[in-house]
Amino acid sequence: MLFAVDWTQLAQQTVIGLSSGGTWALLALAIVLIYRSTGVINFAQGEMAMFSVFIAWSLVDHGLAFWAAFFLTIAISFAGGVAVERVVIRPVEAAPVLTVVIVTLGLLFVVDGASKIFWSPERRTIPNAFSTRPIDVAGVAFSIQDLGNIAVSLGLVVLLWGLFRYTKLGLALRAAAANPDESRLLGIRVSWMLALGWGLAAALGAVSGMLTAPALGSFDQNLMQPVLLYAIAGAVLGGIESPLGAVVGSLLLGVFVTLIGTYVGWVGTTLRLPVALAVILGVLLIRPTGLFGRAEARRV
């Protein structure tokens, strides 16, 4: 039975799964960062990333070279993230969690609406950071773009890890999220730490958007909507507080979803997502904090 499997097809679909997962991993990182620094899942993260892509497009359209536009967009998105936190999140910082969740949902519509006001809904492209020339290894095809996306994700994981573990700023961010009241007593400006967290997440989102758009061929205002779902799923699978978990979780999810869709007939494409979510639910029931999550100690 084992030898009846078409190994090339299996390898190819696995590579495709890693490629899909790689695009989700970047957004998953942004979601984890926001959660870790502010305790909230930002449902508008995808739309903010999409808005960044449009900014990048406009910059390139006005004649800026791609890499200049790339980094300028990251800077603009960082500022935008900070601004959003100051204007929209700060007034509800002390409110119940669900109120903040609703605010991020409102933000989703606001950003989506704004993107439609400024840009028409036709399909656009931005230049590719990585080459899409096909590379063939033993009958399995992939491209530098696939490797590049995964490499960038892992690189960002290392950067974030370094930030949180080894810098004073990272420590302050973690303290502000874990224990706002005591952090204030220590002189940490908690409010600005939250704003910083949002800015960093928005910057990460911008990277995610600018790498995802070419990976999916073209983009419009709906770019990130299916990606958001998979990114949240991947982040949860990996452990919502772990950047490494976000990347590994997304890659695993990508491979799993692709292979299940390919090899299990009754699942096909329609049931890929429900099955994936069911599996994640199963994982959570066994390990409630995800694959890489640490168990929380709660004060009673």
């Binding site: 899942i41 989506d112 439609k116 006001i117």
Partner: protein, 335 residues
């Protein structure tokens, strides 16, 4: 003396509310009665969500899916088994209640964020599941009452009840809000009594509740089941009003809508929920009235939600409580 006044005020409020309910359709156009009926369907689902999330502290982002269960139960009974639409409502509620119970089981193991995401996953997955089992559910085409079972639709062309004849729109309004008022009353009794205290104890501190002898598992699953019944009834009424259902009728947007309605209405209290239902019913239309330029309705919709949340973080219910606190304090303290 003050107590009598307090009770008197309370009774007057209830009577006024009932009067509004009975007479409103005659003051708004026939067509708007149907909008109000739809607000009523949301109202019932919102009560359910408030019971499980506001009172018991179990976050559910999947109530749209429970509405879908109720709605599809109604649709399938009407189209395939030829039941009259209104008689399917109880069964729709029970079915959704059972599913709610099942949804509550992971709540025993997951909490907070993870529970929210699990229920979110259910809401996202349900339309795909409905499409997959198309021979049973009608697939992407869904079920259309007027095309497939027009005789089972109550009130088409006008109806006479208790000697009064009325249009179909008015009938739907009275049907929905009667059920809504009854449901509200039952919920009110529930949260006033022992069950309500049990729910709130689980919300406030599970450890404290458990050490006081509360059966956490039973409480959580019962809360979910109960909220499922409400959502199912709301979903059934929604489908009866629209006379059609398909996988896109209950996407994640509906779950979000119900959640927004509950939070705006005020979690943990019941009185503001009507306002929450009206908010989610009319906000989309109002957004389009501002302008139909591309993007503007979405922007206005989101901005309105954000502004309301900033101004009223505890929702309309919280506001109402703050406003009447001086009054109740005055009424119920000895001079």
């Amino acid at each position: 003396m003050r107590r009598a006044l307090g009770i008197g005020l309370w009774v007057a409020m209830v009577v006024a509310g009932l009067a509004v309910f009975l007479l409103l359709p005659h003051f708004v156009s026939d067509f708007h009665s149907r909008d109000l009926a739809q607000a009523g369907a949301f109202f019932i689902a919102i009560i359910g969500l408030d019971l499980v999330t506001g009172y018991t502290g179990q976050i559910s982002l999947g109530h749209g899916a429970l509405m879908a269960i109720g709605g599809y139960t109604t649709a399938l009974l009407v189209v395939h088994e030829h039941w009259r639409d209104v008689w399917t409502i109880p069964l729709a509620g029970i079915t959704a209640g059972i599913v709610g119970f099942v949804v509550g089981l992971p709540a025993l193991r997951l909490s907070g964020l993870y529970l929210a995401l699990a229920t979110f996953a259910l809401a996202v997955a349900l339309p795909d599941l409905i499409k997959k089992f198309s021979h049973f559910t009608g697939g992407t085409d869904g079920e259309n009452f007027l095309a497939q079972a027009p005789k089972q639709v109550t009130g088409l062309g006008g109806i006479t009840i208790f000697g009064h004849s009325m249009t179909q729109n008015h009938f739907l309004y009275y049907l929905t809000w009667s059920i809504g008022i009854v449901g509200f009353f039952l919920a009110w009794l529930l949260v006033r009594g022992r069950a309500g205290r049990t729910f709130r104890s689980v919300r406030d501190s599970e450890v404290a509740a458990a050490s006081s002898g509360v059966n956490l598992a039973a409480t959580k699953t019962v809360a979910f089941a109960l909220s499922g019944v409400y959502a199912g009834v709301g979903g059934a009424l929604y489908v009866i009003q629209n006379e059609i259902v398909d996988p896109l009728s209950f996407t994640i947007s509906v779950s979000i809508l119900i959640l927004v309605g509950a939070v705006v209405g005020g979690l943990g209290s019941l009185w503001g929920l009507v306002l929450g239902a009206l908010f989610v019913e009319y906000l989309p239309t109002l957004s389009t009235h501002v302008s139909t330029r591309p993007g503007v309705p979405d922007f206005v919709y989101g901005a309105a939600i954000i502004v309301v949340m900033i101004l009223l973080p505890t929702g309309a219910g919280g506001l109402i409580q703050r406003l009447i606190r001086p009054l109740t304090t005055w009424l119920y303290t000895r001079p």
